[in-house]
Amino acid sequence: MVSGSRTRRKVVSALRMLAALMLAGGIYTLISPGAAANNAPLSAAAQEGKELYASCISCHGENGQGVPDRGPSLVGVGSAAVEFQVETGRMPAAGQNAQIERKPPQFDTNQARQLGAYIQEQFGGGPQFPADFDSAVKNGDIARGGELFRINCSSCHAFSGGGGALSSGKFAPSLAESSARDIYGAMLTGPQNMPVFGDNQLTPEQKYDVIAYVQTLQSDVDPGGWGLGRFGPTTEGIAIFLFGMVALAFAALWIAGKS
């Protein structure tokens, strides 16, 4: 009996231990965020984006960790940065240069958003476009935007948004082709060497104001000639003045010689 009761006690304590371990493990599995995220299903858009991400793997790595000397990590960059880079055609990049420039995009807007959704959901979130962007952006105040533009943007992009030179072959691009989403995404995420203008610094409303102002600049059409970043066709003016004056002087001499 003694030996029998000892055996039974051992079995009972082993079972108790097993139950405790299973309980602890189960709770851990339930509340652990990492494990949960890995298991969480991707949204439909992100699933589509996952397919498209094949184009990005060679430089940014399978898990968005980046590849040394090729591409930076995408962990935490957020969907806004992805949409800006892809929609302006900067990504996928053609090569490693001083600056990666705007070119015809390889993916359409929908695909860019799917890629953004995938990187947002899979590699840790970052800045995102507001859900009501397309309607809210129409409420921008041009006058206030002009003030903000002159304070925050004009030092690099020039007063007329024509852009300007930076160091070692880099430059602030012209804003002539930038869409509202491009401008918003650039301010929010600070692509390449552009400083970040987070929502604490320029609220979404202030960003809409800046966009409204830039769109006004864009709708201003140069009257003709070489615009020199909205400075005006001064080169043509000088040429006309110099050549025209010389021509007139010779005409006067010719007339005087005739008489």
Binding site: S155, C156, S168, G198
Partner: protein, 368 residues
Amino acid sequence: MTEKSRFEIVREGARKDGIEIVHYESQFAPGSKTENRMVRIVAFFFLLSGFAGLAFVAAYVWWPFTDFPSVDGWEYAPGNSPMKGFTPILGLTLGVTLLALGLGILTWGKKLMPHEIAIQERHVGGSSPEERKLTGNTLAFIGQEFGLSRRPLLKVALAAPAAGLGAAALAVPVGMLIKDPHHPDIFFTTGFNPVNNNGKPVRLMREDNTYIRPEDVSVGGQITAFPATADGHGASNKYADSPVLLIHLRQQDADHLRGQLQNHSQNKLQNPSDPNSGGMYGNLVAYSKICTHAGCPASLYEQQTNKLLCPCHQSQFLITENARPVFGPATRRLPMLPIGLDEEGFLYAKSDFGGVPVGPAFWEKPEA
């Protein structure tokens, strides 16, 4: 008689050169009424020139004007020009000096010099010693024909523009040595000096007079900050030398800069265990926006390379090495504004750029 014979020599010499003086005649009979009138006109112009030159000096020294726009007159209003006619009066007097001198010389040349027609054949080769002697005589004759010895009034009158112009040319450089043009301390203090905030430390603010919290600047972002002075004009021209660029560096860049700052006694950590005891607050750092080369706003910030560019002459400052100039004409670092956090959670200036003058070099600027 010497005059006559000298002219004959000149004519003979000219002939030897193949030059025939076919016509030579004074415009007015020497000593005639008309000539005297011309002499007086020339003398009048010279005297006018001399007086205008002296007037320039007098205006430069005594004309009232406001020394510095920041003392008063920084705000534009009609008639509230800081110079109050100073520049126009300088331009007017110097202009009259030069114009009258020119008119005097012109009149002299046109009216008092004889009319001459000479015809010369071209020749080859150099001139013989004899010819050179003749040429010397010719020049002496021309000097004589200016008639300074015959017209002593002109000699005296010429002294006037000489004195006036000379004084005008000397007034500016000598004046700067006599009167220090720099307002006391104006280049040594900015709006971040507690003097401008009733002795209390000055907070950083945006252009719309709102204070700045550390979280308002995103990582990789920057913001232009102004001194929140008691008079509420911190973001105006009154404190035009004060704006700073407040930059939020990335962690590793900020660590690098903190390491660099250890060599700069001004902004290094006072307490090695407290990262906020130096010139930086967290990963935030503020540098003067006024380029040390020519005073332009250096505000083109590259967030990946951490370079700050000045658009005027392409100077570049490397922020992570305490704003060391790495390219372009600037030779001095941008001064750092040491910042801290006050009890209400707003950024403030711990001192006025640590006493380092902002902006371009000037005569009394100490070596930093």
